[in-house]
Structure formats: C-alpha cells, structure tokens
Symmetry: C3
Subunit: 208 residues, 3 copies
C-alpha cells in the first residue's frame, strides 16, 4: 500500500538535484566532443554519442519546465529557474551543433585550435557543474563564475589565433567557410557558458 | 459633444487586441515570404510586400510601447509585455532580412530547402497567432508553445539537410556564402518563434 | 585622522557616476575605432588603443558588479543594473571585435561603408552617454532611446548598401568573407546600442 501511494505521489526530486543532473550531462557532452578532436577516427559513432547527450538534455529541460509548472513555491526565483534551464540548454545545443557540422560539412580531419577550444569547453562545463552543485548551499558560486569568465577570455584568444592561422594557411575558400564556422561555434559555446555564469551570479546577488 | 470627447479620450484598445494585430501581421509577412519561394517571379514587388508588413510591425511595436508607457495597470507583467513585443518584432525583422537578402545578393533563383523553411515559418507564426489570441483567456497556450518548439526542431533538421546539400553541390564559393546565409536566417527566424514561445510560457507560468 | 578614516571607508561613488564613466569610455572606444577607418595608417597602434578602452571597460564592469554585490539598496532595480552593465559591455566588446579582425584578417585597406558605420556607432554611443548621464534625474531618456533606435535603422541601411556593393565588386571570395564579417560586426555593435536603449526604456517604464 505504501508502495502504491509512493508511486502515485510526485517523486520529490528537488530542482537542485535536477540541475546537477543537467550540468553533469552537459559536461559529459563536452567531453564527448573533445574526444572527437583528440582522436578523429570513428567520427559518426562519436557524433552520435554527442547527440545522445543532447537528447538527454532536452528531456531534462522538459522535466524541469514541467516541474516548474506544477510547483507553487520554488527554491529560487521562478524566472531565474526558467533562465538557467534555457541557458544551460543553449550550451549543449552548441556542443551538438559543432559535432553535427563535422558530419554535414564532411570534414575529414581536424584543424589546429579545435582541440584547444573543445578542451576549454570541458573545463568551463566542469566549472558550471561545480557551481550548480553548490547552488543549494549557496557557497563559493561566484568563484566558479569568475573562472568561467576567464575561460571565456581564453576561448576568445584561442579562436582568434585559430582563425588568423586559418586565413593565413587555408587557401580553399570552401574549407575556410567550413572551419571559420566550426571554430566560431566552438567559441560561442564558451560564450554561452558565460551566460550561464551570469544567471548564477544574478541568483546569488538577489539572495545576498 | 459625446463624439468630441470620444476623440479626445485615448482609444481603449486592449493590449490583447494589439498583440493579436501584431501576430496577424507577422503571419501575413511569413506568408508573403513563402510566396516568394513558391513562385520566384516578380521578386521586387513581393519583397516590397514583405517590407510593408515589416513597417506595419514597427508601427504596432511603437504603439504598444507608447501604450505601455501610459498605462498604470497592465493585464500582465509590464516587463513581459516589453519582452513579448520585442521578441515578436525580431521574428518579422528576420522574415524581412531573408527577403532583403534575395535582392541585395541578386539571387536569380531559389534553392532546395528555402521553400520548406519558409513553410515551417508560416506554420510557426500561425501557432504564435493562435497562442496570442488565447492570451486573454489564458487557455491552451502551452500546447501551442510545444508545437512551436517542435517546428523549431523541424526547421533545424531542414536547414541542416539544405546546407549539407549546398556544400555537396554548389561549387561557387560566392553562391555558397549567399545561400548559407539565406538558409541560416530562415532558420534563425524559426528560433525567434521559439523565443516568443518561451516568453508566452513564462507568462503562463507566472500566472499559474 | 579624518584622512585615515576616509581611506578606510568605501569610496561612496554612486552607480550613476560609475555608469557615466562606463559610457564615456565606450564613446571614446567608438571614436578610436572611427579614427582607424578615417585614416588607415598606423593600424596596430590604433587597434591597441581600442583594446585599452575595452580593458578599461572590463575593469569598470567588474567594479559595478562588485559594488552591486555589496550594496543593499540600489538606486534602481538590481537586475536592471546587471542587465545594463552587461549590455554596455557587449557594445565595447563588439567595437573591439571589429578592430581585432582588421589585424587577424591582415586587412590592408578599408572598404566603402566601414567609415560610415563607425560614424553611426560614434553617434549612437554619444546618445547612450547622454541618456545614462540623465539616469539620475530620469528626464529626457526616452528621446535618446528613440534616436538610438533610428541610428540602428540607419546602420541597417548602411550595412545593406555596403554588403550589396561588396558582392557586386569584390570577386575574391576570401576578401568577401573577411569584409562581410567586418561590416556585419560593425552593424551588430549598433544593434547592441539598441539593446542598451531597451534596458534604459524598461528602467524608465518601471519607474513611471
């Protein structure tokens, strides 16, 4: 009977636990992307793995929105939960966008800079995961935000160097178009990590 | 005398009626764009028609902001009215941006994928119009938002296929640059429809 | 003793004074960019100057966020201060992005349209500075916002003409890629000025 009731009652998973699941999934997606550039063999299978994380992310996003819809008192600002969910979703969308472009553009080998940018993304999503894991205790989040901001600057420098190198050495305009875009989407993903940091900062500021 | 007073008094058009006019206009703009790709003759005249909808949209946007400025009690959150107005404006701006590019780039015939994306935009703006028409009664909006989200996914798949086809078959890099952009702006317009859906979702969530 | 205490106490610089310093710095950055296109000699030194303004902007942004973090009662909505700061930062980031691309792409001479767009940016940032200077008195801000919006429209027309000219006359696809991007980033900077205007509008509306 207790079992029966338990199944009827909504599972009381907290928003904090849900967000931690989301950010763990994003981090796994970033790692899967970095593995592509670290070893470019077996591309389609690796791209499919990134896409699985992206699908999982979509499910989690949907679950959070549904829960938000059914919850009267939220642990922090309703709109901030909405914002955070949607910005986190953007990060994984862009990770997936990079992987997808490798297939669409039939890219047969990586170029300098891509691995470095993917690595920055791994570190940045790790910081997001760490910050979000601390959201309930509300402690030390701003330090992670600062690191995310400095990783975004690092990404900025890395993409500039990679694109200067691209224009210097790639003479085929079609290759140039493809790679300029791939490198820029990689960098935009680190920008979106910064957007996540900005929402987290704003949550912390409001509760100060 | 009554007549005279009526003319002096601000016309009491509700925000709901104004938003419905805005979204009806956007839908008409999306249809006008779709007609271009369905039959590419008489381009300049058809592009001018899209631009007329865009101008009308700018006027309506301005009217809403003015009314917002003069209204003490708004039917829903003041900032959400601001957000909704500005996101709706973005959709029509991008519809116009696609049409304008056909002229600027002197595009002489459409390519595969464009008509399909324009058609998705027609459906997506129809959903927006239906959702906004229900804003006052506040009923069934989330269903339309779900449809808009799935149309955005459809747009995503369509643009990926069209761009893969473009890189496969178009060997002139200048044509490739033009069409990559046109297809991407079309898809960004469906993204902006999703942004509108997100604001609508947030309005519904707040009032829940 | 008074001196000693004064040094210990936090300097009571108001948010208004800080914002005015930020917008003055942005305006100086826009002017430094316009000087590049007005006289293309001595590029690296001029680009370095733009970057100095951008670094100064980053410092000021950080100072505002720190102050926000330490301030209990803010002169206007906490989140709006956050938004305004971050949108202002975007404008200067894009001004710097234009300058940086000239170096990365090894651009050896300017093209038609760039000087005009940079000039629009000078005027638009001057309007922002004027609006923000009036933020405390809260008077006449909406007029500046209207001008910023119309400058954005002007920027839109200017970039369309410049890009049409580019596709008409530039036959080297690599040059075309470089300049399409430079012109578009210039125009995006005027878009971001409009985003600033939107936040200012929203601040005014809330306090109405």
């Amino acid at each position: 009977m207790a079992n029966f009731l338990t199944r009827l009652l909504p599972r009381e998973q907290s928003f904090f636990a849900m967000f931690t699941e989301v950010t763990g999934n994003i981090q796994a997606g970033a790692r899967a992307l970095a593995e592509i550039f670290a070893d470019y063999r077996d591309l389609q299978r690796k791209v499919d793995r990134v896409k699985e994380y992206e699908h999982r992310g979509d499910q989690l996003t949907h679950e959070i929105f549904t829960k938000l819809n059914q919850t009267f008192i939220t642990p922090f600002d309703r709109e901030d939960i909405h914002q955070l969910t949607s910005k986190l979703d953007d990060v994984l969308d862009l990770i997936d966008a990079v992987a997808t472009r490798l297939v669409i553009y039939k890219v047969d080998k990586p170029r300098p800079g891509a691995a470095e940018l993917a690595d920055i993304l791994v570190r940045s999503t790790a910081e997001i995961h760490a910050a979000v894991s601390r959201l309930e205790k509300h402690d030390g989040i701003l330090d992670h935000c600062i690191t995310i901001n400095s990783l975004e600057n690092e990404g900025d420098r890395a993409v500039r160097a990679a694109i200067a190198d691209l224009f210097e050495h790639e003479k085929d305009p079609v290759e140039l178009i493809k790679w300029k875009e791939i490198l820029e989407v990689l960098e935009t993903a680190t920008d979106k990590c910064e957007d996540v940091a900005n929402v987290l900062e704003s949550v912390v500021l409001k509760s100060a």
